[in-house]
Symmetry: C2
Subunit: 212 residues, 2 copies
């Protein structure tokens, strides 16, 4: 992921904050008010020392011995991660995956509103998928530019993903979540993160027993 050069907090720390936030929200849901770096660490498989060190980058979140106020820490982390607002997200690709993303209700209360669904297939354009009418790729630049949309998900086959990414970059998108199993080339200042379930499974098979 490209970093701002002047940024002093390591990207690996930033990458852990959403995990802390998710665990904290989960604790809140089950009625917990206060937690500790120890409890969080156990839930996440991260050492409590690491959690305290990560959080210390952003100032004093908890007092020694009294633990973290969960509501307060959630607010702070949301503010650090700029989740104290709703980000509009464009989805490109109205196939099975793009449709599943459109149906999923788990984005909205975590900072993201899926706002548009695009597809290159003229048979899909104009059809209804969940609450969206599928839009043609010819609309994408104007739509995203007009709405200052900075985030997009790419849910198209691998062979189209780079072209789609190029279009998104032209439309001003700065953060791409790529579901296509291919590495994207983007200019500096544009971030890409990858979702590829096979990569995760191939990581685990290394450790599996041979006998099957």
């Amino acid at each position: 992921m490209p970093l701002k050069i002047d940024n002093r907090i390591p990207d690996i720390v930033i990458g852990r904050l959403p995990l802390y936030l998710r665990a904290l929200n989960r604790l809140k849901q089950v009625g917990v008010d206060v937690t500790s770096s120890h409890e969080l660490g156990q839930k996440l498989g991260i050492s409590s020392a690491q959690i305290r060190k990560d959080l210390s980058h952003f100032g004093g979140f908890g007092k020694q011995g009294t633990g973290y106020q969960i509501d307060f820490l959630i607010d702070k982390l949301q503010s650090v991660l700029k989740l104290d607002r709703q980000w509009k997200v464009a989805v490109v690709g109205a196939g099975d995956l793009g449709s599943a993303i459109s149906h999923y209700r788990g984005f909205i209360d975590r900072g993201f509103e899926i706002s548009w669904l695009f597809d290159a297939d003229s048979e899909k354009v104009g059809t209804q998928v969940d609450r969206f009418v599928v839009l043609p790729m010819s609309d994408i630049k104007k739509t995203l530019t007009d709405n200052h949309c900075q985030i997009a998900m790419v849910a198209v086959p691998a062979e189209y993903a780079q072209n789609v990414a190029d279009t998104l970059v032209e439309a001003g998108v700065k953060a791409i979540l790529n579901y296509a199993p291919i590495n994207l080339t983007v200019p500096e200042g544009v971030m890409v993160q990858y979702i590829d379930p096979v990569v995760h499974m191939q990581h685990m098979t290394y450790y599996l027993d041979d006998e099957e």
Copy 2:
């Protein structure tokens, strides 16, 4: 991810091998026979020194100055990652995501065969999703044990995910890919990897411009 204690290769190295494999297969698809750590590094945003060091853990994959034979390196990496076989995978959850996974054709040529689709909802059990008849949760232990299935994907809502994981562990599953936005607690010797698109997007929003 839990590691075998006696394993001397860092897990972070193992985690990069699937990315190398994906990039190599992509090069092969477009007709390239030979590549270099420099070319791979550029595609992946990883330094060529890192790639050479990672690969050196597994012996001599390339000769100085002549680059890597792509076919040879693919074979070697597949062997290291135990992908020189097909792993049967169970999917739990026949909702939108589980259905999208069932329809997806990109697993089979990367080492994985989606083999069963389970759901707790009696209205879904018995229905056809792609080439699967949805099976009831009551079948899961016997089916996975009988077939020595070691890998499962969890595609159920967060509130059910821990229960499903417990059942999978009882059924002998050693590797879980969890799509539910919650951290799972599993015994030692069982691995979990996570797919949570929101975590990736929240990581990127930190770097986005405020103006929207």
